[in-house]
Symmetry: C2
Subunit: 337 residues, 2 copies
């Protein structure tokens, strides 16, 4: 991999774009001087956000007025044509002009446009959407988060290999430990697909991960396993339920902490500590889902994130390229008869 | 329903039994003088926990030494015979000697022993495990939580009817609003079973609930719907993921609140407020899952709860009997062709 990494950026996706995207790029560039950004979107709106006399080799704007909206269905997005900022972003990795693509836009559209343009990695049937999820020690990779409502055992095993490769790309010094999300830890529990995946994962001698076995929802954040594998229906519901629970509790805490004078005073004293937790739970830090299984990596930044969150997603991009995620998957994927 | 409600209690189930069970009964009795308890278990261990000269009509102990262990498989539990405290508890409702049964013991065993002894309500194919889950306004009923890994659309509709009947039994003054747990709020999302259930629930004119539509995991606690319906696999994972997330966040809060001197001081000041949240989130308050679909109600108290939690489960029992849960289900269940 060339040292000068090129990231293809859809400048027009998500809330408050292109402002947050360009500001995110500027923040990211300060910490990563050897990265260049191929930026797709409305030149008139993008250029005023960059410093005057910006380096056009580092910030290479490709002008297009057309863009995908959050309200577009995947089909209408695909029909919108090849001059949308999202399509051009994906085309840039297809044509090897960029090493990785990122968008904060419409997830369904990003998936369809990626699938239309990019090839699957050989021997993988379905791509998956993976995300980072905090645990007691650091972060888990959880996949699939909604692309594949129904999965067979091969899909779950592919997800294990892809998820552990992603984990190793983001945390090169840690070991990947894969667990299958299930409703019990005993071998007998779960549906047939999970049981078959379990049996296969136990048998396989996996070069790039340990197999932990089954894990229940209440142990996802224990940190004993760091790659949590499940079908897209279950994964999506687990992730969103966790988000909803976190929101609920934090809101309850805030309300009760400031509901009377003493509470307000002690909250002020405690503000440093509260900020510490907030930082640990800050969704901007682990912002960015990763579409894996295609022969180029595509990162989806949260539509509602800000420039700091977008910059963190760019850091995820950099790690993925630097640590050769796609090659890791190719090296580890199993060819099934 | 007779005013003198009789509750069949398995005294030997769960951690720290029969102590917590008997203490829970004593707490419950203080608030409910018109309830009597048929208590099944080891007389020698139970009697010393009751006041001397206790009223044997209110606290009617049926002595048995045999009991189901948490380590018993459902099959080995069923084989253990008819003189276990759990079996006798269920038999007591079967024989109309009690109005409802409760145990804090082995969930799988309780389910199998209940199914062996009790009939299904006519036109219901599968029983479900329902539980209370806090929301912004009050509580949701969520079901199924793990009995039925795979469900068809009829099961989900039955769960809607049973769940709303349970909600109306526990909160007679509120309207029940049913939502199907899904990975998106649009009609197109989800698997075939969910889509068919959705279409049916939209068509049906339901006497006892409103239909909200689909709900995503992050909106379970919004309070817009209060009966959340899903298959047992998804429901179990959602519930446990929420538990794990809550544990994680509360631990992080506590650690950071007391990690330095200032934090410790302000936590002391804030202790009243913290206790308020704790109370709202106290799992003992909503302790107790309800097995519904059988022609007698069976309540499962958390194995790890204490006597306060067990007493709350007894309150759930009382409401279910007082408000005629089983009759409500019978009145509303749909006969399918």
């Amino acid at each position: 991999m060339s040292e000068n990494i090129k990231i293809a950026v859809d400048a027009m996706g998500g809330e408050n774009s292109p402002k947050k995207v360009i500001e995110g790029i500027i923040v990211n560039h300060k910490e990563n001087s050897n990265i260049s950004y191929n930026i797709f979107g409305d030149l008139e709106k993008i250029e005023p956000l960059l410093p005057k006399n910006y380096n056009k080799k580092i910030f290479n704007i490709v002008n297009t007025k057309n863009k995908i909206l959050d309200t577009d269905s995947p089909l209408s997005a695909a029909k919108k044509g090849k001059d949308t900022s999202m399509w051009l972003t994906i085309q840039s990795v297809k044509n090897n002009e960029s090493d990785i693509a990122i968008s904060a836009g419409n997830t369904g559209a990003l998936f369809v446009i990626s699938k239309l343009n990019l090839k699957m990695i050989k021997n993988i049937d379905k791509p998956a959407l993976a995300a980072l999820w905090p645990n007691k020690k650091n972060f888990n990779i959880v996949l699939d988060l909604g692309l594949n409502i129904e999965c067979n055992e091969k899909n779950l095993i592919d997800f294990s290999i892809m998820g552990s490769s992603l984990f190793k790309s983001l945390y090169p010094n840690d070991n990947a430990t894969v667990a299958l999300l299930n409703i019990g830890s005993e071998e007998l529990k779960g549906n047939e697909v999970i049981k078959k995946a379990y049996q296969n994962l136990q048998k396989e001698v996996n070069k790039n991960f340990n197999f932990y076995g089954y894990i229940e929802g209440n142990h996802i954040m224990d940190g004993k396993a760091n790659v949590i594998v499940t079908d897209g229906f279950t994964g999506n519901i687990a992730l969103k339920t966790a988000e909803g629970t976190a929101d609920f509790i934090i809101k309850e805490f805030k309300e009760s902490m400031t509901s009377n004078f003493l509470g307000k005073v002690s909250s002020l004293i405690n503000i440093k500590n509260l900020n510490k937790i907030k930082k640990k739970l800050d969704p901007r830090l682990y912002n960015g889902a990763i579409l894996i299984g295609l022969d180029s990596p595509v990162v989806k930044s949260h539509g509602s994130t800000d420039h700091i969150g977008f910059s963190h997603s760019l850091n995820v991009c950099i790690k993925i390229v630097k640590n050769n995620l796609i090659q890791k998957i190719k090296d580890n994927i199993i060819k099934w008869e």
